[in-house]
Amino acid sequence: MKKVLADRAEWFVEKAKEMGLDMFETIWEVVPEEVLLEIMSYGLPVRARHWSYGQSYEYQKIQGTMGTSKVYELVLNSDPCRAFLLESNSDIANTMVIAHVLGHNHFFKNNYLFKKTDRGMVMRAAERAEKVEEYISQYGIEKVERIMDIAFALEKNIDWHKGVHRPKYAPKKKVLQKKEQGEFDDLYGIDNLGYEEKIMNDSFPPSKEYDLLWFLANYSSAEPWEKDIFNIIREESFYFYPQYYTKIMNEGLASYIHAELMYLMGEDHLSPSEYIEFVKIHERVVQPGGSKLDINPYFLGFTILNDIKEKWDLKYKHGESIITGFEKILEVCSEEDDISFLRKYLTQEIVDRLEMFTYKTDYDRNKDEYIKIESRSAKDVVESQAAKIYNYRTPLIYIDSASQERLRLIHESADVGTLDPKHIEKVAEYLQQIWGGQVIIKTKDERGYSISYGFNHEGFLKY
């Protein structure tokens, strides 16, 4: 890194600490565009290889998102925190990115969801990538890809609250007294005994099981290396989950921090022309965004945090609060996620000021697409936004019962929407490949009637 940037980074870290930020040490790396693009496509610098990352890499390239005028921040939740700067950015752009990254760094270290994540994931994912390479040389790319396809199909269906590391189901006393005692020992035992010897009854799993990959990794007859891949992808899904759940707050805080730090630096250390360039970039980041039909999380988060700051500063001044506006911001960033954040702090006043609305899309007689404004109430705006974030925006599906002959899943959120028929057909096939027997997924059709998708040795069925 250039000396000027290294010096500024050091200066920022000092100021940020004075402000009250609590950060991991940050490792800065200045990289060319293609490397940044690559890390963006993979989500992590090195991950077990899969064609879909190649697809996403091509997509990023075609999109041309890396225009020189754009600022890119790429920072990884990790201890030490890993941040990447774009070589071709101007110094002032990279200066702002450094300040921005420190905001993310604080957020990563302090937000309650992130506290549960694996801070060593960057290195761990790289080690695992090596392991998967070994599997590829041993079993061939097709087989490994197929298992990864299966894992990716289920990766979003995790059970965040049960956590990454959870014990296997506890044995039931009642069951142990039955005459198949020995076999149920295997079933509920902590040792990883083979599934072949198990006989399962209706109460397996003991309660609704939402963590599909965890279940398959522990109770299916998949090969150890296949189970290893399930675990790898599942753990990466846990790692990414908080990012999806806190996008608005996280970007809001980072934008708030970069603005504060840049104002501070501007006073003494930036030339007027640099300062003007910063203001221009900053305004591009925290603006409503090109599309009126979407939310720019940077802008929304930044606006709400500023609102909190003003209100709590006022309360503090009048003795109604023992913490200042900025302290309140940090508290909110530790304790909330986007859904609770919007519910508590997106006020009707902000919704009106930003002209926010909810809408539905439809087609007119000429088959031209149009939107209709549905509502302008803060409550509706919050709920429509929450629906997008909730559960990775993935249908809530749990394993209802599992036996050697049959794996039965139920789509719990069937009232929210139907399952994509093309995808469910493939997913049913995937599950059948791993579990064997017959796989059934129960859901509802568009009219609200119960239907089931199934897959057995004869193929796909729907009834």
Binding site: V31, W51, S52, S291, E355, M356, E369
Partner: protein, 391 residues
């Protein structure tokens, strides 16, 4: 600032991974194109394009399948920066709107489009169709520089003398001396048929693309014919150095048209398919002698032929057989066309042909849906395969 940690990009040699995985992705795209060729083959954009033009093939099959919502009930979007009351409607302007705003790590909906050239796609399809002449063994034979030298040998056993060629050479030699008559044969006039290699040694092909343009041939039916012809021409282009396309449109009369007219004009008259077979016969006689040309004749109609005309069709088809390498008839019978009370399968020209012509170089087949184009191509071009198998 001192660097206690190694640079990640140094440790893992980044830069190569994206390329490696996107190569793998491309490989899978090609594989998907192969297995989905039947659907792709009538893809509108493809048959509209020239060889080296890049086209976008929507790769819907390279989805990362997962548990996901299909239709979300009561789904509402969230927007900002728009004035108006609930109930107000706004038209959506499509286009390259300013896609500003940061790209997230979310798994957005995307239809992936693979960009490849038509040539690449045709090669993949040829490979899949397993046509004999793209077999690497045969490649050298396809690359002909001089048709004369290669196809007709100057030495050989007397039993394989090519009389016609030899006469021609004799005539040429005498004409050069100012006496254009067949005279005394010299050794250098003699031409021998080289049976082993004769098969592929002609490098000229004339393709007769013929189509019923009567009122009942609507856009959908024409599209099937167009797809079939696109691939047929692409494949033959790879086999012959020189290609001449003759576009023949007909209702009760046949006439030669330009390529553009061929697919756009439409007449309202009845249907006499024999008119086009007759046209091809006359045209070949005058322009594309089978000595120098590999003739391919194909006719598309929707089977609405006058039944008396079927007999004449057969007559001309029989007359054409010795003049062509291969001939075919495609009858576009979309499912709904069999609903009519007038529908009599025994009167269909395709059935009539099939009953009366049993030759490997002739194909008559019904096309009921887009997918049949693929089957039709296989059937039409495997004529050469089956011949090879018998050998």
């Amino acid at each position: 600032m001192t660097q206690k940690y190694d640079s990640l990009s140094d440790i893992w040699g980044l830069k190569k991974r994206g390329k490696r995985d996107s190569d793998r992705h491309k490989e899978l795209v090609e594989k998907a194109i192969r297995t989905n060729g039947k659907q792709l083959i009538t893809e509108y954009d493809i048959i509209q394009s020239d060889g080296d033009k890049k086209i976008k093939v929507p790769i819907k099959f390279l989805d990362k399948y997962r548990l996901k919502y299909g239709k979300i009930n009561d789904e509402a979007g969230t927007g900002q920066g728009l004035a108006g009351q609930p109930g107000d409607k706004f038209k959506i302007k499509k286009g390259n709107g300013d896609q500003d705003g940061p790209a997230g790590n979310e798994d957005g909906e995307r239809i992936f489009e693979a960009e490849i050239t038509v040539d690449e796609l045709v090669n993949i399809m040829l490979d899949e169709l397993d046509l004999p002449w793209i077999d690497p063994k045969n490649n050298t034979q396809v690359e002909i520089t001089n048709d004369e030298v290669n196809s007709i040998s100057k030495k050989g056993p007397f039993s394989s003398i090519d009389i016609r060629r030899s006469l021609k050479e004799n005539l040429k030699r005498n004409a050069a001396k100012g006496n254009p008559k067949v005279g005394v044969f010299k050794k250098e006039d003699l031409r021998f048929k080289d049976w082993e290699e004769e098969k592929d040694y002609h490098s000229n092909a004339a393709i007769y693309l013929m189509m019923d343009r009567s009122g009942s041939m609507d856009k959908e039916k024409t599209h099937i014919a167009k797809s079939f012809y696109f691939w047929m021409v692409q494949f033959l282009r790879r086999k012959y150095k020189k290609i001449e396309l003759v576009f023949v449109a007909h209702d009760i009369k046949a006439f030669e048209v330009t390529e553009k007219e061929f697919f756009t004009i439409s007449a309202s008259g009845g249907t006499c398919c024999s008119s086009s077979f007759k046209f091809a016969y006359d045209h070949i006689k005058t322009h594309h002698s089978p000595d120098e040309w590999n003739n391919y004749v194909f006719e598309f109609s929707d089977g609405d032929n006058y039944s008396d005309d079927n007999i004449i069709c057969l007559e001309y088809a029989e007359k054409l057989m010795p003049l062509v390498r291969a001939m075919g008839y495609g009858e576009v019978m979309l499912d709904k066309s069999t609903d009519s009370a007038w529908f009599r399968p025994e009167k269909l020209l395709s059935n009539y042909f099939n009953e009366n012509i049993k030759r490997t170089r002739f194909m008559s087949m019904q096309f009921k849906k887009n997918d049949d184009v693929y089957a039709g191509l296989k059937k039409f071009f495997n004529i050469d395969n089956s011949k090879k198998d018998k050998k």
